[in-house]
Amino acid sequence: MAEMTKKMTRKEKKELRERMKHLKSGKLEKRYARMGYIFMIPWFIGAAVFLAYPLGSSFWYALNNIRITPLGRIFNFVGHGNFTQILIEDPDFMIYLVDYLTSTVISVPIIVVFALLIAMMLNMKIKGKGFFRLIFFLPVIIVSGPILGMLNSQGAGSVSAIDTAALSGAIGSVLPELIAKPISDVFGNMITTLWYSGVQILIFLSGLQKIDKSMYEAAKIDGGSGWECFWKITLPNLRSMILLNTIYTVVFVSNNSDNPIIVLIKNSMFSGTKEKGYGYASAMAWLYSIVVLILVGLFALLLATRKDQYEKQVKRAIKARKKEKRNKKRIERRNRRNAKRIEQQRAKGRITSHTTKRDDY
């Protein structure tokens, strides 16, 4: 079949494509297609009802001043008024946003690196591995409830060995208040920050278990140290996991109920202030979402998996070899053509050996 297609001319191919268009698909194919759509319906409905509709609604809300009264909702269209008010008149939003950006940029790498280290340790041959894995996953359950608030209020969120007051003072003396505060907060809530790494540890563990052990064996035979194995084998193989964990952590930190911006949005939503309310909160949520998306995009750009250098070299070599082969064939063809032409000329007696004179040039 492939050979037949190869031999077909362009025109024939075009005709075949035209004919294929008018061909009816088989019963089985149709059934598969229909079943596929049927099975996708719940997802489409879910996405439409719980994603597209709320998104559209919240954007519409953001353009309105909304009052929720017992007699119904009152919409008053204000256009970009809510956005302008948030960006120009609301002092809290911008301050919280800078706090959020600074603390996220600092805390996300801390969480991801910590998770990687713990995952590597949990992947080693140690006794009670399962128990330790459970211990590190336990905060995932705890931090999702009010228990975290209680623990934090008891001072359990910070490492007592870290003199946070001195650290804050030192940071504050070097950096402006706006940046120094979120940095100090990260150190003040170090335990909480590290507690956020339960899921990431699991993801890294699954990634580590997928790495082929023979690679380590081969590296060891070649005299590679543990350090070299980490940089040359473990880390390159975990690249996609690092990206996944980074994005997960950014989203988790951004959506966390303790996040001051989330609290601000919630407070604005139920504020007694006439200018605030659902519309104002929706506008704030949209602005915040855009910032989070940009942050996720930046992290993704920074960590997106690039092609392996070795693979690149191999591909380049294959390409070069193919090119060389093509050139060789071309030269051979040309030589054959030239030889043939010379033969023809010679047969006609047009070419005699060494007959050219200087004057011929």
Binding site: R31, P42, I45, V49, R67, T69, I74, F270, K274
Partner: protein
Amino acid sequence: MKKRILSILLAGCMAAGVLAGCGNGGNPGTTAAPSGGEAGGNTGSTGPATSVTNDFELVTVDGSSHQYKKYKDMTSENITLTYFHFDQDETVQLLAERFMKIYPNITVNVQYENVANYNTTLSTLVSNGQAPDVIMHSDCDYALSNMLLADISSFFNTDDETKNLADTINSAGLGTYNLEGGMRYSVPVKFFPGAMFVDRNVLETLNLKVPTQNWTWSEMTQLIKDATVLNSPDGMAYYGLGYYNRLDSYYGIAARQDIIGEFGFNGKVFDLTEWAVGEQEFSNLKLGGYIAPTTETQAMEDWCGDWEGWAGNTGHAALFSEAFWTFQNTWNTPGYKDSYNLDVVPYVIPAVSEADAGANHHSIATIDYGGITTSCQHPREAYELLKFMSYGVDGWYTRCEIYSDETIVNAMGTALKYDVMPVPITKDEGVWDEYIKVYCAGMDDEHTQLWRDYFKSCMQPISFGWTSIAGYWNFCDQYFNSIGIHDLVDNGTAQAADYVEEANRKANYFHAQAMLDYFGPGAYNVLTESEIAEYEKMKADNQ
């Protein structure tokens, strides 16, 4: 074929489930929300009653000797009313049960939410078309901006019982938002009068004279200074005042009798001049070292060796600006009385001028308000329920019964009397006799008389601004609290008087804007033309 049908059916079921899950009970949100009433619960073809006829019969219910008024203009049909509150829940549940015994055809559905989540939950209920019939509210800006409250003036003004409420409810128009049309949207539900508590044992130790009930503001501040002995013989300093409420709020009301709201509000405009005097005086007392350290501070640790200490149990603070409920919640609880050598007695917040101090005068009080929602379909019945839960005489007799029975306890096992028990805002003598009996149970005659005197002198309450003045919360949120005036004055970096002019402008601006937003066209639309012009001008002048 069977598989295909089955898969289509399953997919259909899933889709229907998804859609049903996100339904809101059929209320589109843009039309009138249904009330909590059941079908057929209307008062009849004649329409709902619009006033109180005061025509009643006396009935008794099982378990009580009190004779209750059963009003004849109430519906005889079976209806359900929803009461949403942040009051003491066990008490409200018992009150609702008693109300249902008086009116067996009315089912009261009580819903409780704590103050922290109150507005959130209420908004959710309202947006889901499940607006309660009767609600409590804390900050009035939230309730008014969302048009939660219906005008109940026709009931309130025709009800005989409302003539006998604490004077300022009517004279200062608390809950009316001072509208020319005489509308009333809120009524006081919970009343906690302001008080200055004095530990007589401390005064005795320091050999200081116990003040009289008609003391003046200057006498009080002098007593605070006299009772401060930093180098006392027992090694622990004595302080003149342990504070919970700042004195500037107290002074702002006690200064003049024409002030009917915080920050010198006279019903139309703000004037923070008097407030500034009180603020500065309080800050000077703080800076002068006359005020006891607050909890969880190094100063507290240095003073009594306990980081989490409280001035109220040290026996080394003479006066307290604690909330009213602190007495029953803490000082009067059996364990507390045995553990600390305290003799805490109440005093009315003193007036600034001698003339005012000699008579009953305005004093700040914590009052939580309530009202009937705009979607309520049984306003007459809802009004009766609201009255029973708040200032109604029958409701208060029932409350006194509940509070006197110390076997009735809350979830923590504490008798309800010790769990934020409010004060009657009615002046009905029978209610007050019962209340004093409950409140002063176990006290000797001298203390009982002190409490009687105090209660008599505190019936001119003025509520905190956020509960009764439109735009007050916006002013605090967007100006006063955002620049941290209290801190600036307290640490001596600014003088309170410096802010008066600007704060007046801001407060008047926010108030005018709120009045127009809440009561103007597009909202309640009850402002007269002259009011609209007045508030427009006020807004423009203070822009």
